[in-house]
Amino acid sequence: MMSYIVLGVSVALLVSSAAIAVYAERRIAGAIQNRYGPNRVGPLGLFQPVADVIKLILKEDVTPSAGYRFLHTIAPIIPVATAIMTVAVIPFGDGLYVSDMNASVLYLLAIASLGVYGITIAGWASNSKYSLLGGLRASAQMISYELPLGMAVASCLLFAGSLNILDVAASQETWWNIIRNPLGGIIFIISAFAESKRTPFDLVEAEQELVGGFHTEYSSMKFGMFFLAEYMHVVINSMLITTFFFGSYHLPFAGAWLPELSEPLKMALDVSVFLAKTSFFVFFFIWVRWTIGRFTFKQVMDLGWSKLLPLSIINFVVIASVLYFLHNGLS
């Protein structure tokens, strides 16, 4: 019963959080660039996302006549679906999760690796050079950064001794993984940026070179779904950064000082701590976007393959050996 309530609330939260993230992005961008941002629709421009959605729905839906209609239509569904599927295993608090899966971390990686199809298919089905280049860049980038991401996650699993994400969250009650494994945390955050295709890794849709990248030929709500998926992935990746490295739903060093609380109180505390951390990382994603410029394609590949991947493997091996000798002595 509990898991159905969590499922309903979290999916509703995820979909609406995308709208909130769009509004936050525009307001924060405005603040960073010393201008207002949207402030006309409703108080403080709060109804701007609603206006945007109405605009998107009312626009004409165009499919390129030389494109592939069927693939062009299903492509935007894939990233949205994979983003929603991720919610199934994320713990929002002690006992607040949708499903308890034996290998939920692997499930997360599997779902993340499927998301790239939406963009690749969109790029190809549009029958346009810009879209195709965007799609190819996306697939190259996402495959490259999946490896350091996976290795960083694996170095976290060593502390939990389990592939279950609930155990990973529970193992950080006193020591957050970012303290025990700082290098892994940095690698994970960089890879998460690349996986969600945000600046400085947004050359998938580099306006100056590719018009709009993979969604050049999309309009109306099909474009809206790509837009929704992008912000949902920002929120999901913020949740994953929180879960794997920043103590999930635990306060800092909570195991050492937090007294036993009654169940409803603990639940409320867990959820609000988790959401606060997630919101901070959503802000972090936006903050970085309006601070750092875009890398070139060569730099992105170079960083992924010849810097992050070896570093993450070394990090994994070192942590594994240290933990082994701590447990078994130097005999």
């Binding site: 034996n102 499930y107 599997a110 190809w124 697939s139 592939l163």
Partner: protein
């Protein structure tokens, strides 16, 4: 629960057959590759029905998530259009495929009818085999040598592919530059 499983099995196996036929018969290479992705996903579903969670998830990560993306990447990059297919214009190909498909469907339905009566109960032992712990335990104790040998084989294959791709002549020029150079010179001389 059992009825649900049989239903899921029929659905997944029919999908697996249909998508594999789609992979073979489709004229566009990209569509073929996408059918193959669907096929691999249905296979993962079949593994799940057998309680092999680890295998199912690895199937999605490795095949559907990485290898097929690279396939698709190469096909799109080379822009292979409407391959000349042997069965492109022959009706025989379609008839043969239809017959094979019907045969497979008949086989599936037959085996299902046989199974529906006395489907063996999945014992606790069988369920335990599919977990990550069980596979890791066996893989890194009893089958450590085959695992390492496979790893070395794959690594050397990758290094070999790199060697071929990066091959240069003694004077440092890449191989394809040398191959095309004489033709270019002839053209320049003619003009």
């Amino acid at each position: 629960m059992l009825v649900m499983e049989i239903y899921a099995f029929i659905l997944l196996s029919l999908l697996a057959i249909a998508t594999s036929i789609g992979t073979v018969l489709n004229r566009s290479a990209v569509n073929s590759a996408l059918f193959m992705v669907l096929h691999l996903l249905t296979l993962a579903g079949l593994y799940l029905l057998l309680r092999a969670q680890f295998l199912a998830i690895i199937q999605v990560i490795v095949y559907a998530g990485a290898i097929m993306v690279l396939f698709l990447f190469v096909i799109m990059l080379l822009n292979v259009e409407e391959e000349e297919n042997i069965i492109k214009n022959t009706r025989f190909g379609f008839i043969g495929a239809f017959m094979v498909g019907a045969l497979l469907l008949g086989q599936v339905v037959y085996s299902l009818l046989g199974l529906a009566g006395f489907l063996p109960e999945l014992s606790g032992q069988a369920e335990a085999i599919g977990t990550v712990e069980a596979i890791g335990d066996v893989m890194f104790t009893d089958y450590l040598l085959p695992l390492q040998v496979t790893a070395i084989l794959l690594t050397s294959a990758v290094v070999g592919a790199m060697m071929i791709a990066e091959f240069t002549h003694a004077d440092g020029t890449p191989q394809d530059v040398i191959e095309h150079a004489p033709e270019d010179r002839v053209e320049e001389g003619g003009a």
